[in-house]
């Protein structure tokens, strides 16, 4: 059970996850939740949280350049990519616990961030 809340059916907001502190089990700070990746289907109601895009500094990364291969103009992409080099990904199975009150996500490990897959 990756969640603290015992009762299933508990309702949350995605916005509560954005900016949440990400820590390793030993308490080391790993960054902040920058985006939440959803996967599943066929309907939107069947999409579940697949993992978190984590950055050392949650704010400031923007514009969608951070996770896309082909985007111009060159100058902007280079600047934003440079600022986003620290982005990592936490898979759902690496999430140990979410503390919604404290806006804290405890994770076991962080993986490299892959560019998101193309639309189906």
């Amino acid at each position: 059970m990756p969640s603290e809340s015992a009762a299933t059916g508990a309702v949350h907001r995605l916005g509560e996850l954005l900016g949440a502190e990400v820590v390793l089990p030993d308490g080391t700070k790993a960054g902040q939740v920058h985006d939440v990746r959803l996967a599943g289907g066929p309907g939107l109601q069947d999409y579940v949280v697949d993992g978190f895009v984590v950055r050392a500094r949650g704010e400031g990364a923007f514009l969608g350049y951070d996770r896309r291969a082909v985007l111009g103009p060159w100058l902007l992409r280079a600047l934003v990519r440079a600022a986003n080099r620290d982005a990592r990904y936490v898979r759902w199975r690496a999430v140990r616990r979410i503390d919604w009150e404290a806006k804290l996500v405890v994770v076991e490990r962080l993986d490299p961030l892959e560019d998101e897959r193309a639309p189906a």
């Binding site: 082909v70 985007l71 111009g72 902007l76």
Partner: protein, 409 residues
């Protein structure tokens, strides 16, 4: 034939619609103080509005999303909200200036004080925004605005020393008696007058309402690439007649009637009448555009239904905002604030607010998710990047220059 007519109409209204109170006042003022030595800024500004409008027009046509719709998607709610407040503030300020400009045009024609005209103009404006069709609004005021071509005729009639004027154009530095800081301040003001955010909000929202598709991109480009530069040329003639008549006489332009004075000198009463019709059409048309643009930006930010194509009751919040704006503008003008001063500030604040609107459009125009194959090409991106730098520089410089020059005094 019908298509050629439609294209021609689009270009003509783009010319007439380009000039507003900010262009009238800033160009005449700059012409009277700096001659044609700042003409290059108008050129830079016009190319900028072409680059920006082409991108946002293409984004509107391909993705069906208007400019402010996209601002929040790329900047997030916090920065997006800051941008909304700034852009709405500038557009509202411009709206006030335009209404003041209409009232001043009527004052010049009737010598009835502008303050008495303000409530009349506001009421008329609101009725037009409520009842008159979008296309009528755009075409009537755009075409009437073309009467400002009288400035070009006046320039020719004044038979100026063309070599001297060209000399001013090619020596981009302040004339004697003016400092570099003043020169730079008015460079920013002219840039802001040519590249006003509301023009892009209005242009792209109109495109969405008219349901442009990728097929309409070619027509849209024709309008932009022919209409706006010709509109820019028109504003240069306004600066030029002021440079011919006022610069040697040491007169600084500070009232709307002065903008028309050179036309009267050159062409007499007939010229004056045509110029005043042009003033009225340009400012009234721009008042419509700015009033709607305040509504567009807030409605698009919050995802409300907006626009002139649906009955008002189906876009109730949008029409409520437009109504409130019109009502609020009246007491502001009745404080006897000088509309010309409001105009001068509005163009500088336009330059200040621009980057946060420009950046998301530049990014989205590159995003295949929105644009498919219609993403920016190399030229659009090269120019887009150059202008990103120019727009940021103008924005950063605006306030320090305003303080250093005490608002251009």
């Amino acid at each position: 034939m019908k298509r050629i007519f439609a294209v021609a109409l689009g270009i003509l209204t783009a010319i007439g619609g380009f000039v507003d109170i900010g262009d009238l006042v800033t160009n005449a003022l700059v012409g009277s103080r700096f001659g044609m030595s700042l003409a290059w800024v108008v050129v830079v500004g016009v190319v900028g509005i072409c680059v920006f409008s082409e991108m946002s027009g293409r984004v509107a046509a391909v993705s069906g999303r208007a400019t402010f719709d996209l601002v929040r998607e790329r900047l997030g709610p916090r920065v997006g909200l800051a941008n909304l407040v700034a852009s709405m503030g500038v557009t509202f300020l411009t709206f006030i200036a335009e209404i003041g400009g209409v009232a001043l045009s009527l004052e010049i024609a009737t010598s009835v004080n502008e303050l008495l005209w303000v409530p009349v103009v506001a009421a008329l404006l609101w009725i037009v925004l409520w009842r008159v069709r979008f296309a009528v609004l755009e075409n009537v005021f755009g075409l009437l605005g073309l009467s400002l071509v009288v400035f070009a005729v006046a320039l020719w009639q004044l038979s100026p020393d063309w070599g001297g004027l060209w000399q001013q154009v090619t020596s981009p530095s302040p004339p004697s008696g003016e400092s570099w800081t003043q020169y730079s301040y008015y460079a920013v003001a002219l840039f802001g007058a040519a590249l006003t955010p509301y023009e892009v909000f209005f242009f792209s929202s109109g495109g969405v309402e008219e349901r442009w598709t990728a097929k309409d991109v070619a027509t849209m480009r024709l309008n932009v690439f022919l209409g706006f530069p010709l509109g820019g040329a028109l504003s240069l003639t306004i600066a030029a007649v002021a440079a011919v008549v006022f610069l040697p006489a040491g007169v600084q332009v500070e009232a709307l009637v002065q903008v028309a004075l050179p036309v009267a000198l050159a062409l007499g009463k007939i010229g004056l009448v045509i110029a005043l019709i042009g003033f009225f059409a340009a400012t009234f048309g721009a008042a419509c555009e700015t009033g709607l643009s305040v509504g567009y930006s807030i409605a698009q930010f919050y995802g409300w239904r907006w626009g002139k194509f649906v009955p008002p009751r189906q876009a109730a919040r949008f029409h409520l905002v437009v109504l409130l704006c019109t009502v609020l503008a009246v007491p502001v003008l009745l404080t006897t604030v000088d509309p010309i001063a409001v105009t001068e500030y509005s163009v500088v604040f336009s330059a200040l607010a621009l980057p946060l609107t420009y950046l998301p459009i530049l990014v989205i125009a590159n995003d295949p998710d929105y644009m498919g194959k219609r993403v920016n090409g190399r030229l659009a991106n090269a120019l887009g990047t150059v202008y990103l730098v120019v727009i940021v520089v103008a924005s950063v410089a605006a306030i320090p220059l305003m303080i250093l020059t005490k608002g251009g005094q």
